[in-house]
Symmetry: C2
Subunit: 142 residues, 2 copies
DNA sequence: GTAAGTGCAAACCTTTTGCAATCGG
DNA sequence: CCGATTGCAAAAGGTTTGCACTTAC
């Protein structure tokens, strides 16, 4: 399993979360594809390593992983029902609009923009959601 | 109706879209509240001005307005089923996490970040999704 | 007048939930 | 061993669709 995988498993263990076959299957599906996947896609992929995996467990596991910050929903105008690995607590995604490949990153200096918007609107801004979209190297060259 | 409303109605007319009572009701609901609303919320608000308004028409109208860029979904970790007015084609939302008030803006200079991510990953980036969250002036002071 | 749009109700899908059986630590 | 977790099946939502009727232009 990838480094991400080991890190996440360690974090889960630390939290006292049981590492069941079903949970590993969900995690592996997301780690192996490096793409954003719907619950149904995770289900069918996950069945390869855990044939008894139920869709209900996929949903329960995705919710668990999301609440612990290891998985993030991918938005975009239509596909808000996909999930991808999020290595860090605050992270954003760079998404290939062709193959769905995702790359997570944490850098995002929006302080100038945030300051300007606070001054203009009187809001106090404390969070943001950022996604970048484009073509990954493979899809770009084809 | 607000300026936004007049501008949007003009744009719709130009496109040859019929301005029916149902469509006006949906538009008015979004324009008047200045908050992001779910389809169900638009429905019950819209019924005040169009008592026969059906939920099906709300969905059809929201899809139409979104496809024309006048309305945008509001994301956030759970509430991807809300919509808010988007005055410009490329616009982002500043959202009050307390009352749901939205403020749309178009400025977003992410060129430095985009350039860095392109260099680091080999992606060609051509779009982004950005949302800022915080407390609006009213909610901040209470 | 005519085609686009509406309301209704049924169909569809995705997601959640209750419960007995199973499994991880 | 014991409680957390699972799979199943049923329930619950939310969204879409077919169709006859209505309305905007």
């Amino acid at each position: 399993m990838s480094d991400n995988g080991q890190t996440i498993e360690r974090a889960l263990r630390r939290r006292g979360v049981r590492l069941t076959r079903a949970r590993r299957a969900v995690l592996d599906a997301l780690l192996q594809t490096e793409r954003h996947l719907t619950a149904a896609q995770v289900h069918s992929l996950g069945r390869q390593s855990c044939p008894s995996l139920s869709l209900a467990s996929v949903y329960r596991t995705l919710a668990l992983l999301q609440s612990l910050g290891h998985v993030q929903p991918v938005h975009g105008d239509d596909e808000c029902q996909s999930y991808a690995i999020a290595p860090a607590a605050h992270s954003h995604q760079l998404i290939c609009s062709s193959c769905g490949m995702t790359y997570a990153f944490s850098e995002c200096d929006l302080s100038a923009l945030v300051a300007e918007m606070e001054a203009r609107t009187g809001f106090r801004i404390d969070a943001h959601l950022l996604e970048l979209r484009g073509l990954c190297p493979k899809c770009r060259d084809t």
